[in-house]
Symmetry: C2
Subunit: 242 residues, 2 copies
DNA sequence: CAGCTTCCATGATATAGATCAATTCTGTGT
DNA sequence: ACACAGAATTGATCTATATCATGGAAGCTG
């Protein structure tokens, strides 16, 4: 059975509409068949279930077909830092390549369908498919640049800028998946947002309220409607007239 | 002629004492010879000279033999965000892989000797040397985890924790290069430090003064001596008794 | 459905660090 | 050696956001 708005229920890479995101465009049909043998489509993961824990041996990276994932790492003192939110069409789990175990814990924020890409078999396959390895390096580079954008946000921006940036980022990423860029449900809590953006829950909540009073957004709990996208966008990109 | 303290004046990869850092340990002599043909040792770069600018086409990554590099990106509004400091034995320039041009600008903080690793030729060579590509993915993963550590630092830590963390990080990285872990010269300005850590120059300066008054460090301008390494370390790792 | 827990919103207050300002020190180039 | 622009330090004040505190709404569980 197919979801009414989003056809992601493919049973192989050939007819998965995500494929251009997690696989290079230039793969011919033969290569795709070989690759097909590597990728595993798992059971849907339910809210609050873990994909992997920090410290787990690194075996796979994961592509999201539907749902949402939060990744975070835990410091010695037990405090957590949310390092990313991942949406459909995105890949996570790179953090484990370094020393063969994951630095982050990954948990489902809602019911989520994943494709698991086992890494040992991937290396095998990519030996005969250099384009694939190149593609994956590109994906890792994307992770690097998005992390650096977050660094800039945390180092330089006010609470309003941070929240606006997150909303705009979510909007753009949903749009890329041909989902509504202006109406969506936040998969994460205010606390998660605050943790991710280096703010307290209270501040996040106040910023949401302020955005509503400025008619930038409408929100009812986790349901968000961006009513003034250009306005919110300009807030996200340095409103300071410095 | 060789530097008295650090033998980095190798004229090929075989006798470069950096090689275990930028190359996989398992390369046999034959492979190393082939690789040798790819890597270029450039003229020393002087202080304030640029290695590449944001927007430049991505052609190479760079290994540092001696000196120090700062990378930063510039937002639309012209403000800069320092994204990393790179020391001997470290590799930078990954940010360009994504869409074939650099997001960051890289500039020498002092006279610096680099090895340039042209990427098109690298891909060629690595086709017959899968271990090499794997090694480079590992290096990229390191960049990801170090970016995520910075994210945590920026999101969660006080000014003192941030500065202490940077000093400890520099100390560890110099130690890895068999240089003094407790006495060194900061290659970057207070302003660079502040920018990197999301603080103002004034705050950085005050923190340095405070660290001196606590007998954690001794500093004369850019010359630093860490006089209480364990103390500084514990400051870096969450002094809060939360 | 009652009771519990978690999430969210909002007000009052406190504070770390920003901002503004002035001074000294440093390094660079002539 | 001198002059000048930039780098660093230090002080006084201001402000954004944290912290503390409370109440209400929503979602779970038995």
């Amino acid at each position: 059975m197919r979801s009414p708005t989003l056809n992601i229920q493919a049973n192989n890479c050939h007819n998965c509409r995500m494929s251009t995101l997690c696989l290079p465009l230039t793969l011919d049909v033969g290569s795709l068949d070989r690759l097909e043998t590597v990728i595993e489509r798992g059971r849907p993961v339910h809210k609050q279930q873990f994909i992997f824990h920090a410290g787990d041996p690194f075996q796979s990276v994961y592509a999201i077909r539907s749902g949402a994932i939060k990744s975070y790492c835990t410091s010695e003192d037990g405090s957590e830092q949310v390092t990313g939110f991942y949406l459909p069409g995105e890949i996570f789990g790179w953090d484990g390549i370094d020393n063969n175990n994951h630095k982050n814990t990954a948990v489902a924020l809602e019911t989520t369908a994943l494709c698991e890409i086992p890494f040992n078999r991937f290396e095998e396959v990519s030996r005969t498919m250099p384009i694939l390895q190149q593609h994956f390096m590109r994906l890792m580079a994307k992770e690097i640049t998005s992390d650096q954008e977050l660094i800039t946000l945390l180092a330089k921006s006010s609470a309003e800028e941070r929240v606006a940036s997150l909303l705009i980022s979510l909007s753009n990423r949903l749009k890329r998946q041909h989902l509504s860029a202006t109406r969506f449900r936040l998969p994460m809590s205010r606390a998660d947002i605050g943790n991710y953006l280096g703010l307290t829950v209270e501040t996040v909540s106040r910023v949401f309220s302020r955005f509503q009073s400025f008619d930038l957004i409408l929100c009812d709990k986790k349901e968000i409607e961006i009513t003034n996208l250009p306005g919110l966008s300009s807030l996200a990109h340095k409103p300071k007239i410095t």
